[in-house]
């Protein structure tokens, strides 16, 4: 434990100004969050909560995202040092690590007694429940990844938005010509969601041995061939990230890509009605994988203000508060009541999101997932895309990471 002392001392020093003046009544709840839009502020929600709960003060701290790893690692280190926030926004890919750290408070008894519980779709509860059946996460936002398509390009080649892998390849090839590519593949960080659509949705499974079956290997080879063999992706695809794939769509460089409703307004501003969205295509046996992009709040075991923290996070997941929250984050409300009157994005993108829910899935909540997402997937996939390793070797690396 000694070697964490330095970390603890540093974190404690950093926390001192917060702890000092606010330690007395009313209770101060430290909440960490990240919004994609740095101009978005939760100040109005904080003010509304504090007005309704004068015994609680919310200290909302915006934490840099840094592709996810900055936020996550700041959270882990402060939790280990004992100077973490009382509650924070979290994602399912961190659930395994946070469970192993025994950092998460079981919210089950509070959730069961909470009036807002029934306003959240049972599917969202299901996905956000830990493998051991405990509710550590309270959903606050969600997205489901879907396929953006240039409707005008498809119309020009007399094709409908693709529903199967062969239709997808045909559409991508038809839209690929000099300077234009059919599919904006994301080989950089975050691209595992593209891979999952075609490989986990195409026959592979995240179970022991499920990544190295003949069907899994074939699905992965097909995915890699989009770039190497059929050349329907820009040459920069191996390292393209979110900004490159979305900017390529906006600039008319690519005809299809995968993302979620969070970028809909930006694309509509650039392309108007020429941009459309549909659920991602399904695999050969009709299975599909549309990554569920979750966002939840959690209360931490070290917190001395757990009940106050719960009151704050449950406030954020309730009715119109949750609608206001998701207008700030650019994602979708988790409340059924709020979804009925959702107008933050054009209807076709909301429909694509809802139509994708039946195949919405997440990576398993085990510690290996975080490493897979942050380093192993991009490094290994980039090597396969560049021909440095075979698609079969790529899958063996993933199998080894997950199942030893």
């Amino acid at each position: 434990m000694k070697r964490r002392n330095l970390l603890a001392a540093t974190a404690a020093l950093a926390a001192t100004p917060l702890a000092g003046p606010h330690a007395a009544s009313p209770t101060t709840v430290r909440w960490w969050y990240h919004f994609d839009d740095p101009k978005a502020s939760p100040a109005a929600l904080v003010a509304a909560f504090e007005k309704a709960n004068p015994d609680i003060r919310i200290h909302a701290e915006s934490i840099p995202w840094g592709g996810g790893s900055d936020y996550d690692n700041r959270l882990y280190t402060t939790l280990v040092s004992g100077a973490g926030p009382d509650c924070a926004m979290v994602k399912l890919e961190n659930l395994g690590r946070l469970m192993e750290m025994q950092a998460l408070k079981d919210l089950g008894p509070w959730v069961d007694a909470w009036s807002g519980k029934s306003d959240i779709d049972p599917n969202i509860w299901r996905i956000n429940t830990a493998p051991n059946g405990v509710r550590y996460y309270l959903p606050v936002q969600y997205v489901v990844l879907y396929l953006y398509v240039r409707q005008d390009w498809l119309d020009a080649v007399h094709l409908a938005p693709p529903k199967t892998f062969p239709e997808f390849l045909r559409a991508a090839q038809a839209m690929t010509e000099k300077g234009h590519w059919g599919f904006g593949l994301r080989g950089g960080p975050g691209g595992q969601d593209f891979w999952a659509t075609f490989v986990l949705g195409g026959g592979a499974s995240l179970t022991k041995g499920g990544l190295v079956t003949p069907a899994a290997t074939a699905a992965n080879a097909w995915f890699i061939d989009l770039y190497r063999e059929w050349k329907v992706c820009p040459p920069s695809a191996p390292t393209d990230g979110f900004l490159q794939t979305i900017n390529n769509m906006k600039a008319g460089v690519t005809g299809m890509t995968i993302h979620h409703i969070g970028s809909a307004n930006e694309l509509v501003a650039a392309l108007g009605n020429r941009i459309n969205a549909v659920p991602v295509p399904r695999g050969p046996k009709g299975e599909g994988w549309a990554t569920f992009g979750d966002g939840s709040n959690a209360v931490f075991t070290h917190s001395r203000n757990q009940e106050a923290a719960w009151r704050w996070i449950s406030f954020l997941s309730t009715g119109q508060n949750n609608v206001a929250f998701n207008i700030l984050t650019g994602q979708v409300t988790v409340t059924t009541s709020g979804a009925r009157h959702w107008t933050a994005e054009p209807e076709r993108f909301v429909k694509a999101t809802l139509d994708s829910l039946p195949i919405a899935k997440v990576f398993p909540a085990i510690p290996a997932t975080a490493e897979f997402v942050s380093t192993v997937w991009p490094q290994t996939t980039q090597k396969a895309l560049l021909g440095e390793i075979t698609p079969a070797a790529m899958m063996q690396i993933f199998e080894k990471l997950y199942f030893g």
Binding site: P238, Q379, T380
Partner: protein, 293 residues
């Protein structure tokens, strides 16, 4: 109370004056170094805070058999060798130019410092977008000038990715050499050039026999310093490629950083950092010897 003799007080005064700086350095530099050393002897994975067994030198043994370690060390040598050489050559040329008289020399001397003054993250982002395959200004220029038939995916191909990050590093670092060597040039007495001219030396002769020897001490110190900084730096690569494509630009400090910061394997990450420190120690000792001389 017995007073110290005047000689003793004089001997203690420098230590008393240095004490705050020494204390700060000890707390901010040496304590974390010792902590990293100690951590490298443990299997310390951050998300398993209750399981941290002492493993002795096991992390170092693992490291010796880790092909990624050796590959990243090789890339570090390329990164330092090519990066520092290019910066030095460009910086030296810029210093020679800035030492001549021309109309806007003052402004040029001020402007040349701009890349050095910018944060690495900003430089990384700027170069990432300049080199972008679809929207980057460099590809647009090359295409318009007819120098290439189609855009180049600079950061997505192993062969060009390392060149691209070294290019950005060169742009960032050459002002350091330019300014340092310019100061050195201004310190060479004019009489030396006059004497060389009387002895029949031309421009090239003056350069080889007066400028280069006159600048040698400054060059050596600047090169050693910059080698240490570049060998340690990872921010530019991290922003531009994250070590990719694949691991094509993953240098040793970046590998250590990713192991510790992203993989949360602080034990192995610390072992990597310790090895990097030991490798750099040779250069540091050289620098310290020069500085004390």
């Amino acid at each position: 109370m017995r007073r110290l003799p005047a000689g003793g007080r004089a001997a203690l005064t420098p230590w008393a004056l240095l004490a705050p700086a020494l204390l700060a350095t000890g707390v901010v530099v040496f304590l974390p170094v010792l902590d990293a050393l100690w951590m490298s002897l443990h299997q310390f994975v951050l998300f398993r805070p209750n399981v941290e067994p002492f493993v002795g030198l096991a992390n170092y043994v693992t490291l010796l058999g880790d092909p990624t370690f050796w590959a990243s060390l090789g890339r570090s040598l390329v990164w330092v060798g090519a990066g520092v050489s290019a910066q030095f050559a460009l910086g030296f040329a810029a210093a020679l130019l800035l030492n001549r008289r021309f109309a806007w020399r003052g402004m040029a001397r001020a402007l040349i410092v701009v890349p050095w003054a910018l944060p690495s993250v900003i430089i990384g982002l700027v170069w990432t977008w300049m080199l972008d395959f679809n929207l980057g200004v460099i590809n647009a220029l090359l295409l318009r000038l007819g120098l290439v038939a189609h855009s180049i995916a600079w950061l997505a191909q192993p062969g060009t990715a390392m060149i691209a990050v070294i290019l950005a590093l060169t742009w960032q670092g050459f002002p350091f050499f330019a300014v340092t060597l310019l100061a050195g040039l201004q310190g060479i007495p004019r009489e030396h050039y006059e004497a060389a001219a009387i002895d029949g030396a031309g421009a090239l002769g003056s350069f080889w026999h007066v400028t280069v020897p006159g600048l040698a001490p400054v060059m050596a110190t600047a090169l050693l310093l910059r080698m240490i900084w570049v060998a340690n730096s990872l921010d530019l690569i991290f922003v531009m490629t994250g070590g990719g494509p694949g691991t094509a630009t993953e240098t040793l400090p970046l590998y250590a950083f990713l192991k510790a910061w992203t993989g949360l394997d602080y034990g192995y990450g610390s072992a990597l950092a310790v090895v990097l420190t030991l490798l750099l120690l040779a250069v540091v000792i050289l620098y310290a010897a020069r500085a004390s001389a």
